[in-house]
């Protein structure tokens, strides 16, 4: 529920609008509990950006598995839902590297990649997002959708 609330607040922030909404979003933005980011926290950050629209980055345009997918959550769910076959080789891989934003702010660049391999059915799709190094806040505007095939 906490993550969902953070996601909803992020949507409010992305939508802009009145100042109270912005203040509320800032207060409830998802914050990683520990830095450097560890795998569990990196996955939690992925859930926190689930309501971010796919318009956030050109790399996210058209990545949904269905035509009416509009959010990062829709996109990732489309691939997570494919992991149910016990015969397949599946993995969720996380990583975090130190980086800087365009404005020079120190961040952790986090990746979550969902991997699947079963015969010729081989793919690796996921997301990358930044976490402010100073306070661990997830920055939804930095989301990029990764993967190919």
């Amino acid at each position: 529920m906490r993550v969902l609330a953070a996601g909803l607040a992020i949507v409010a922030l992305a939508a802009g609008g009145c100042q109270p909404a912005r203040r509320e979003a800032a207060e409830t933005a998802y914050r990683l509990r520990r830095l450097p980011p560890q795998p569990k926290e990196i996955v939690a950050g992925m859930f926190a950006i689930s309501q971010t629209p796919l318009t956030v980055s050109p790399l996210c345009a058209g990545v949904g598995t269905e035509a009416d997918d509009t959010t990062i959550g829709h996109y990732l769910s489309g691939f997570l839902a494919e992991l149910s076959d016990p015969e397949a080789k599946n993995a969720v891989k996380t990583s975090a590297e130190e980086g800087k934003t365009d404005s020079g702010e120190a961040v952790w660049v986090c990746r979550v990649m969902i991997q699947h391999a079963q015969g010729e059915d081989i793919w690796n799709w996921g997301v990358e997002y930044s976490v402010r190094a100073a306070d661990g806040v997830v920055l939804p505007g930095t989301v990029r959708c990764l993967g190919g095939g």
Binding site: P58, L59, G62, V63, G64, T65, E66, A67, G78, F79, E82, A91, Q115, H116, A117, G119, E120, D121, I122, W123, N124, W125, R144, L146, G147, G148, G149
Partner: protein
């Protein structure tokens, strides 16, 4: 215009021998990646999106290549004058030929067909190398209903 000899020169090669960027993990799908390095496509997401490296990058997403095709159609309606081009295989429910939109479903694949026999050159991710197949063989790349085939004239 690509020649069949050029395509044959890729047979048996691993993607690491084709991509100068070094995006070559076997856990990734390299079908569009292979096609793009051969034909020089650099639009949308590329191997440089995924990995820092020097050299000319290539596009890596099937649905982004499909959308860039000059024209597309069902494989059975392939125009005879089209001597070479792109071939796609996926579930037909995710394809809109009028808008040239292919959904980013997990099971989709791309290759290059060439010549009167429509020989298909593509990167087999399971065999980890470039292979050639007849269209009939290629149609078994995925089980039904994920094996509808489409052609595209190369962008």
């Amino acid at each position: 215009m690509i020649t069949e000899a050029t395509l044959q020169g890729y047979l048996g090669k691993h993607i690491s021998q084709i991509c100068p960027i070094g995006y070559a993990a076997d856990s990734d799908n390299h079908c569009a990646h292979f096609v793009s390095h051969v034909l020089g496509y650099q639009f949308g997401a590329t191997c440089r999106t995924m990995k820092h490296g020097t050299g000319t990058p290539g596009s890596i997403r099937v649905h982004e290549v499909f959308q860039k095709c000059l024209s597309v159609g069902n494989w059975d309606d392939l125009p005879t004058p089209l001597f070479w081009g792109l071939v796609f295989i996926t579930n037909a429910s995710g394809v809109n030929l009028k808008t040239k939109v292919m959904a980013n479903v997990p099971r989709k694949h791309i290759g290059i067909f060439h010549g009167g026999m429509r020989t298909i050159y593509h990167y087999s991710n399971s065999r980890r190398q470039v292979v050639s197949q007849t269209p009939a063989e290629f149609s078994g790349h995925y089980p039904a209903p994920h094996n509808a085939m489409f052609w595209g004239s190369a962008p």
